[in-house]
Amino acid sequence: MTTEPMNEPIKQRDTQAGLAHGSLLSVVNLSRQLQGQWIWQGISFDVFPGDRIAVVGPSGAGKSLLLRALAGLDPVQAGRIIFDGQPMERQFMPRYRSHVIYLHQRPALTEGTVEENLQQVYRLAIHRDRTYDRNQILHYLKLLGRTADFLQRPSAVLSGGEAQIVAFLRALQLSPRILLLDEPTASLDVETARRLEALVQAWQAETSQTAYLWTSHDPTQLQRITDRQITLNGGG
């Protein structure tokens, strides 16, 4: 496992303590075992506000597993994840996940219209103090080249790419601090993929306090939208 700069020199960080100054998220010696095999071992890095990180590596290197581990969706066999100065195991996971949102490679929507899917998350206890902001969604949709009609489409008739957009907006509206994007454009056409990239950039530029990790099979895409990368070699 190496982390190296792509376009920008890598930031100095104290991986030993995993508490580099100003870091949003610190990962210290994280290791993942699956059926007795180490997928990756001893991963350490920090995520700073404004970070745009690519996670690269061959198929089976555990890129998805790394993002899932960062979201606390899978157990890890060693190491620590520290968010907001608190180790993950001491946090209330739903709250943690409202800040660090993982987006699945294959979007999963429920029955109903696009808008119902977007509104649904506000019924979760952790988001109950917020309200659905239609204008914000319309603003995002505009960046994606879609109109308000899109909100009334039933989720069942959406293409894979459109479903990915809905899943993406569903996460974005919750204003996460870190987005974990697992091949978000894999099922999108080139045009929509570019618009989605633009949307992510726009979202991040809003506050510059947010960061994302992005996996992709497209090196030129990663070149465009990330500044540094975490390389997984497979087999540790």
Binding site: A71, G72, L73, D74, P75, E89, M93, P94, R95, R97, S98, I101, Y102, L103, H104, R106, P107, A108, L109, T110, V121, L124, A125, I126, H127, A167, R170, A171, L174
Partner: protein, 266 residues
């Protein structure tokens, strides 16, 4: 004991078996291929029921509550195990979970019924407690196996949706709520269906038995109502219990869905 019903002799049993013989002959003549299975099923049924009859004769003579409890526990263990045997996905503690759910639900319901409602004296009189428990167990086991099967299948097939919700900040309870609801509904379907058509489509076997044994239909109906409530409550409790225990196994404290704890059988 006073005999208010006609006893059935061995000869009469043989005559009853002749009813099946008609079908066997028909099957042979018309080459329907039913005769073998019909014969095997008939023989098995006769042997099993006669054995149970002798066992019950012995059980009903028991006057020691410990022995009665032991028989009840053995029945419960068998019910708990066969509820699991019908599921397609298992996890490590599934047998224990099933046994625990069926034990607490059926013992609670049967205990309350014999001591508080029917007021059997003494409470452990096997003539009451064993058949009543048997009926509660039989229905609870169906509910438990249906609910277990539905719940685990649902978690597997809706994994992506459940995890998407978890990833957006849902608690494990919020993420699992729909599958839990569906599992409970599925587990209760047979019980609720049979309650709805009770007396209209079918006369319950227990009631028929009591009427044949000379009880007045009104008395038999009253017994039947008590039994149905016992069955419905026992099935609901057992089903809720097993689904909640399974939920605890397959969703961790860290609000993770742990499907790797599930193994497919067959």
């Amino acid at each position: 004991m006073e005999q208010s019903y006609i006893q059935i002799s061995n000869g009469q049993l043989a005559l009853a078996a002749a009813l099946i013989l008609i079908n066997v002959i028909l099957s042979v003549v018309l080459q329907l291929g039913l005769e073998r299975r019909l014969a095997i099923a008939s023989v098995r049924m006769i042997v099993q029921l006669l054995l149970v009859g002798y066992v019950l004769e012995w059980v009903f003579t028991l006057r020691n509550p410990l022995w009665v409890l032991l028989v009840a526990l053995a029945m419960t263990a068998m019910a708990g195990a066969s509820a699991v045997d019908r599921t397609r996905r298992r996890f490590k503690r599934i047998y224990w979970n099933s046994f625990f759910s069926i034990l607490t639900s059926s013992f609670l319901v049967t205990g309350l019924a014999v001591s508080g409602i029917i007021r059997v004296e003494p409470w452990y009189d096997p003539q009451y407690i064993i058949p009543l428990l048997g009926m509660v167990l039989g229905n609870a086991l169906t509910g438990i196996s249906l609910a277990l099967d539905r719940f685990t299948e649902d978690l597997v097939s809706r994994r992506e949706q459940i995890e998407a919700f978890l990833a957006l900040g849902a608690t494990r309870w919020e993420a699992a709520h729909k599958p839990i609801q569906e599992a409970l509904r599925t587990g209760m379907i047979p019980t609720i269906n049979s309650m709805l058509v009770m007396g209209l489509v079918s006369l319950p076997g227990m009631m028929t038995g009591q009427i044949l044994a000379g009880a007045s239909p009104i008395d038999a109906v009253r017994y039947q109502i008590v039994i149905i409530f016992m069955i419905a409550s026992g099935t609901a409790l057992g089903t809720i219990g097993v689904v909640l225990l399974t939920f605890q196994v397959l969703f961790s404290q860290e609000h993770q869905l742990r499907l790797e704890r599930l193994n497919k059988v067959k």
